[in-house]
């Protein structure tokens, strides 16, 4: 939930100007708007990558805008994040990339393999478990990133232009995957400039224009 949140970057550019919005648990929304409308900023505020200049950001009832630095990792473990450039590590296998998210949260080691396998099955990558991300297609790489975001079973999934580099068919597949998670009860927020997706899936849009909420 965002409460009159604004964000001004040091160069003086105001990315968000008093935006308030609330995502109901289990809902799925698309965050739309042109490049530079403040979509990415909004998502970064939710994971405390950026701090708001004004207003409050509440996740699960906790105001995270003043969250102490040492508590931030625990917030991030509860939120799954997917980026356009997927941020995979190319010196480790698909399996290791996904398992890293469990290792950082001190997940019992004996259970890691099972959990990773399950999530790889879920995104349809079970056959690619021991490959390196560089050998996979763009759509498959994005699925690895999604698997990594999901493996901690977060309540909230945030995706920033997850299909920005993919063709129409792959984009649809990825979005369908998100839709599936939403149907399993996860709260999902997907930032995209592709307006066909909300229409295709019949889902509500949150529209940003120059840092203001318009719909």
């Amino acid at each position: 939930m965002l409460d009159r949140v604004s964000k001004r970057y040091p160069q003086g550019h105001a990315a968000l100007q008093g935006v308030s919005l609330e995502l109901a648990p289990g809902s799925m929304h698309f965050l739309t708007g042109h490049s530079g409308a403040g979509k990415s900023t909004l998502l970064k505020l939710a994971t405390a990558i950026e701090r708001p200049s004004g207003g409050r950001v509440l996740v699960d009832g906790t105001d995270i805008s003043r969250l102490p630095r040492r508590k931030i990792p625990f917030l991030r473990r509860a939120i799954g994040t997917v980026f356009q450039d997927h941020k995979l590590l190319f010196d480790r296998t698909v399996y290791d990339n996904v398992a890293l998210a469990l290792q950082v949260s001190n997940f019992p080691r004996a259970k890691i393999a099972g959990r990773v396998q399950a999530v790889l099955n879920r995104v349809g990558l079970e056959r690619h478990r021991n490959k390196y991300p560089i050998t996979l297609s763009g759509g498959e790489q994005q699925r690895v990133a999604i698997a990594r975001a999901l493996v901690n079973k977060p309540d909230l999934l945030l995706a920033d232009e997850p299909t920005g580099n993919l063709d129409k068919q792959l984009a649809d597949e990825i979005m369908d995957l998100f839709y599936e998670f939403h149907q399993f009860g996860m709260t999902v927020l997907v930032a995209t400039h592709d307006l066909s997706q909300p229409e295709r899936l019949g889902l509500p849009q949150i529209r940003l224009e120059q840092g203001n909420l318009v719909a």
């Binding site: 994971t47 990792p73 994040t81 590590l89 010196d91 890293l100 290792q103 001190n106 080691r109 975001a149």
Partner: protein, 305 residues
């Protein structure tokens, strides 16, 4: 300590990962380790040398004679003589009565009979105390002189200590030099490891960003680098241990040879186990410190964006 906030199991995993990483780039690892080992071995070797010189000073035979000058009213010289004989290591005790001392003085000073004109003999009586062979170390001489000097009937105790003091001063100087070298090269070790770790942090910038993004704590991200520094320091200390031990082994033979030519027996004293362990502790500690300093500075700057 933030290190303690990371569970033990993760420590083990991270340590294994770090070992693997070091083993996968043996060239770079060995290079760093040998540079560090050289920096550690030099002051360590100096310490061994000064230790041996100090032991050598203990071996030297001083002339071994103490002159014990009596107070003007010494009481019973016989009782004092018995007391001197009873001291540990004393071989002979000769009494030099005031008259004999006066004769010796006039002979030594070439005054002839001039001193005979004195109505009173100004010289006190004295004992010449000679220590048995093997009991004449400078430390023993000094201790004995102090003990006897404290007795009531004794005015002062003299022995030739100049050369002992000179030798001791030379050893002290060498020891100080070793101390300064150790501090300087210790700083070098910290800087080298700090720089190695700094480069490693920059190399793995992306990995650090991603790990922080998916909820890795600062302590978790920091730990592999701290272990890298610690292990490099430990390995370097191990190599330095070997270098010093080999050097002592090689020099030991020629030192014994040299001593034999002077008719003495002297074995170079090698570094003991606590010395070797101490060097390991110092190496590991400096490694940890160096990486801690580097990581503290650079890790905070790397944040997901």
């Amino acid at each position: 300590m933030s290190v303690l906030r990371v569970p033990l199991r993760q420590h083990r995993e991270i340590l294994g990962e770090v070992l693997g990483r070091l083993a996968r780039s043996p060239g770079a690892t060995l290079m760093t380790v040998f540079v560090l080992a050289a920096a550690l071995a030099l002051p360590a070797a100096l310490l061994v040398v000064t230790d041996n010189l100090e032991r050598l000073a203990g071996h030297f035979e001083a002339p071994g004679t103490l002159s014990v000058f009596l107070a003007t009213d010494p009481g019973d010289p016989g009782a004092l003589e018995d007391r001197l004989r009873a001291l540990d290591g004393v071989a002979t005790v000769d009494f030099v009565p005031p008259d004999q001392a006066l004769d010796e003085a006039s002979r030594l000073l070439g005054l002839g009979d001039a001193l005979q004109g004195l109505s009173d003999n100004p010289l006190p009586g004295s004992f010449r105390v000679t220590l048995g062979p093997g009991r004449r170390s400078p430390a023993r001489m000094a201790a004995l002189a102090e003990t006897i000097g404290g007795w009531q009937a004794v005015d002062q105790v003299q022995y030739d200590r100049r050369w002992v003091e000179r030798f001791q001063a030379a050893v002290d100087f060498l020891r100080r030099t070793g101390g300064v070298t150790a501090v300087l090269l210790g700083a070098v070790v910290v800087l080298i490891i700090g720089n190695t770790i700094r480069l490693a942090v920059l190399n793995r910038r992306r990995e650090i960003e991603v790990t922080k993004m998916i909820g890795g704590t600062d302590a978790f991200v920091r730990l592999p680098f701290l272990y890298t520094g610690l292990l490099q320091g430990l390995l370097a200390a191990l190599v330095a241990d070997v270098l010093v031990a080999v050097a002592v082994g090689v020099l030991g033979t020629s030192a014994a040879d040299l001593a034999a030519r002077y008719g003495a027996s002297f074995a170079l004293y090698g570094p003991g186990p606590d010395y070797l362990l101490g060097l390991l502790a110092v190496g590991g500690g400096l490694g940890w410190l160096g990486s801690r300093l580097a990581v503290g500075r650079h890790l905070r700057d790397i944040e997901p964006a």
